[in-house]
């Protein structure tokens, strides 16, 4: 019988394109200290740490060992993960498993990336098969544009509808102290007029490149209740993969099979049949505006092909029936190793009623996703009720 697990504390950095004021370990300490200070805890009060980051992005091998002294982890039980965009959410799901199984009692998840000190797009190019794929893959944008073209063709979603997502994200970010890209006066037209990166994705359709870190503390059962007045209990923690080669899944974004698989399993575990009514907020990993439209469909927030109409109807706005990304989402903040953990962190904050400035009223259940090039989905559902 596994134990109940909850998110009980959250910390994150002020995210920016270049955090030249701090080294990478100092930046990460900022997130860890905010997280632990919020509950009056110290490093010594934590049993184990799960770190998520892509070593090749900053070019530091064994990065968790390099930082062990600076982070206060020397002598501690450290688990190091590295699985792309999803990695932050993977640290949370790993923490859940380590606590639920009885391995550890308190686990601190830490996701981080200091992209200004590395070359993320060069490293991302190596993600493809070296013989069949790498020669035609150049970073994230071109890859994403190809998938977006298929999605637009399949769904009929328009550039204007995608631009509404971009506007929503940057305006929501203005209410989030820690967000990177805050554009209070951004308009749909401004998005449509921004530079074309790779058709049909324009500059303001795409997420930024950020420096930043996030930390979330998970704990078990009664300990969780002592640490937080309103713990965010894990109702579901699911991982699902699609086939790896682009050609094996030509629709990709139009039919995100790993996300559909993950949400089907997670909704079943959590007993959700009508997500728009039974969830109160969602923090999804949308690397580009079009992706959020596709995710509405794959998460069953709307019928297939209805992503554009869903944003038109305002359902995902802050005052809508199911707000999506009140934090500003990935379109506003994207330190890759932390990005998916920020989704979990924001869902935890919303559930704990501690999302200062962008709290959705009366959150009982929150959803968070991690995204790995459409081939990999992490999905968590958190709630105020201990199941």
């Amino acid at each position: 019988m596994s134990r109940a697990v909850a998110g009980v504390a959250v910390g994150q950095t002020h995210h920016a394109s270049r955090r030249t004021d701090v080294s990478m370990p100092e930046m990460i300490r900022e997130a860890i200290d905010r997280c632990l200070d919020s509950r009056g805890l110290r490093i010594k009060d934590v049993d184990a740490f799960v770190l998520g980051n892509m070593e090749m992005f900053e070019g530091i091998n064994y990065v968790e060992q390099w930082m062990s002294d600076a982070l206060g982890l020397a002598g501690k039980q450290v688990w190091k993960l590295n699985n792309g965009g999803t990695v932050g959410a993977s640290t949370a799901i790993t923490a859940y498993n380590l606590i639920a199984s009885g391995y550890h009692d308190r686990v601190l998840c830490v996701g981080f990336e200091k992209q200004s000190e590395g070359s993320t797009q060069s490293a991302i190019t190596t993600v493809g098969d070296p013989i069949w794929e790498r020669a035609v893959m150049a970073g994230a944008i071109g890859n994403f544009a190809a998938m977006t073209s298929v999605y637009v063709n399949e769904s009929g979603a328009t550039a204007e509808q995608a631009a509404k997502v971009a506007v929503k994200a940057r305006r929501n970010a203005c209410n989030n102290e820690y967000a990177h890209l805050k554009l209070p006066n951004i308009t749909v037209q401004e998005v449509l007029d921004s530079d074309m990166l790779a058709y049909p994705v324009r500059k303001l359709d795409m997420c930024p490149s950020s420096d930043g870190a996030a930390a979330v503390l998970f704990a078990a059962e009664d300990d969780a209740k002592k640490l937080s007045p309103r713990p965010a209990w894990v109702h579901a923690a699911v991982v699902a993969h699609d086939q790896q080669y682009m050609g094996d899944s030509p629709k990709r974004l139009a039919e995100m099979r790993s996300l559909i698989e993950a949400r089907t399993k997670a909704y079943k575990i959590a007993g959700i049949t009508d997500p728009v009514k039974e969830l109160d907020v969602a923090e999804v990993y949308e690397p580009a505006s079009y992706a959020e439209l596709a995710m509405y469909e794959c998460l069953a927030f709307c019928p297939k092909g209805g992503g554009g109409a869903h944003i038109d109807a305002g359902v995902s706005e802050m005052d809508g029936e199911l707000p999506v990304n009140p934090s500003g989402g990935v379109l506003s903040t994207n330190p890759v190793g932390a990005t998916a953990l920020i989704r979990v962190a924001e869902a935890t904050l919303q559930t704990m009623n501690e999302a200062t400035g962008h709290q959705v009223p009366n959150v009982r259940r929150a959803l968070a996703t991690g995204y790995g090039g459409n081939a990999w989905t992490d999905l968590m559902i958190l709630g105020t009720e201990r199941l």
Binding site: M1, S2, S23, M54, E55, M56, F57, G59, I60, N61, Y62, E64, Q65, W66, M67, S68, D69, L73, A74, G75, K76, Q77, V78, W79, K80, L81, N82, N83, G84, S90, I93, T94, Y96, N97, L98, A100, S101, G102, Y103, A123, I124, T126, V127, D129, P130, I131, V238, V239, A240, H241, D242, Q243, Q244, R257, S258, E261, G372, A375, W376
Partner: protein, 347 residues
């Protein structure tokens, strides 16, 4: 057997200095397909995958992308550990205990022949103060060996003991090791475990499934892990972090002392002696009489990262059909800063 995790199958490739007959995916599949066959299951029976690989050695970010499909993770879960594969087995055990049931493939792979060790080592050094000096692992390993003061004779005998039983590499004498070229004083070239290509996989499952499969099962009784200090001004003559990981593993297994069978992962000969001392399992004689790493350990040709799970496989072979115990170890880092210890018990 409720709530426990059992190894019911394993597969290991032919390890060699160069496996240019197989790419990474093919190499991993060689191990996975052998493990599935050994357990009497197919990819369809797999409920989740846990992998271990290091991106710098793979020359590929998110390097598990190369193996999750062939390990059965399509529309299922795959988790990737960036550390020695012993830690991946520990995490798979936690996953299985959370779910209460399932069948998990633990897979690890490395083609050390396809990488430039100097560049990879260099990327592990502090980017602000050390990297500009262009060091590599050998330099600091020599620094450590000099401080430890084990004799060349002792160090050479450890290597020779490992090579004696290697299924993959020809035997070496202690004299061969001592006569190999000096690298970083006092080290000689053959004191470094050989760079190898290979992959390993094990099948982990719950008690009910293990019983249904009817295969000889070995229980994962416990595990412990520790990441140590990084900077070189620490006490390099101590392996206290291994001692702590060892204690954590014993505590989680409910064992009061170390078993007779120990599988150590030892990148260098002097580290083998240091680790044996830290575990209280003896000196060079313990390697020669087979108390430690009876199949030769990393000196017999276990690739880095793969070494921990390779040791587990050897221990499983020895434990099947018995009620004996074994302790397996993996390590990662420029001077073995992270240690992972697994406790196994014949079921």
């Amino acid at each position: 057997m409720s709530g426990d995790a059992f190894i019911v199958g394993f597969g290991e490739t032919r390890h060699a200095p160069t496996r240019d007959d197989a790419n990474t995916t093919e190499l991993a599949y060689e191990a996975v397909s052998a493990a599935l066959a050994d357990a009497g299951v197919t990819l369809h029976d797999v409920t989740a995958v846990v992998s271990a690989s290091l991106d710098f050695w793979e020359g590929r970010t998110i390097s598990s992308m190369a193996v999750n499909e062939i390990a059965g993770a399509t529309f299922k879960s795959e988790s990737k550990i960036s550390a020695d594969s012993a830690q991946a087995l520990a995490y798979a055990t936690a996953r299985l205990k959370t779910d209460g049931e399932g069948l998990i493939v633990v897979v690890t792979h490395c083609k050390e022949s396809q990488a430039d060790p100097h560049i990879i080592d260099l990327a592990g050094f502090d980017p602000y103060y050390h990297r500009a000096l262009d060091p590599d692992e050998t330099v600091i390993a020599g620094f450590q060996a000099a401080q430890l003061g084990y004799s060349l004779d002792e160090r050479s005998r450890v290597v020779a003991a490992g090579r004696k039983n290697s299924p993959w590499l020809a035997p070496l004498s202690a004299a061969d090791v001592a006569a190999s070229p000096e690298t970083s004083s006092p080290l000689h070239a053959l004191e470094r475990a050989p760079r190898m290509d290979g992959a390993c996989a094990v099948i982990l499952t719950d008690g009910a499934t293990a019983k249904r499969l009817g295969r000889p099962a070995v229980r994962v009784a416990g595990s412990g892990t520790t990441t140590g200090s990084y900077w070189l001004d620490r006490d390099l003559t101590s392996a206290n972090d291994l001692t702590v990981a060892f204690s954590r593993a014993l505590e989680s297994a409910g064992w009061s002392d170390a078993p007779d069978h120990v599988e150590l992962t030892t990148p260098y000969a002097h580290q083998a002696l240091l680790f044996a001392r830290a575990l209280g399992t003896g000196g060079v004689e313990a390697f020669e009489d087979g108390t430690i790493s009876p199949a030769g350990g990393q000196f017999a040709g276990r690739p880095g990262v793969v070494a921990g799970l390779s040791g587990v496989i050897y221990a499983v072979k020895a434990l099947q059909g018995t009620s004996n115990r074994a302790l397996c170890h993996g390590t990662t880092g420029l001077l073995a800063q992270s240690h992972h210890v697994i406790c196994l018990e014949g079921a």
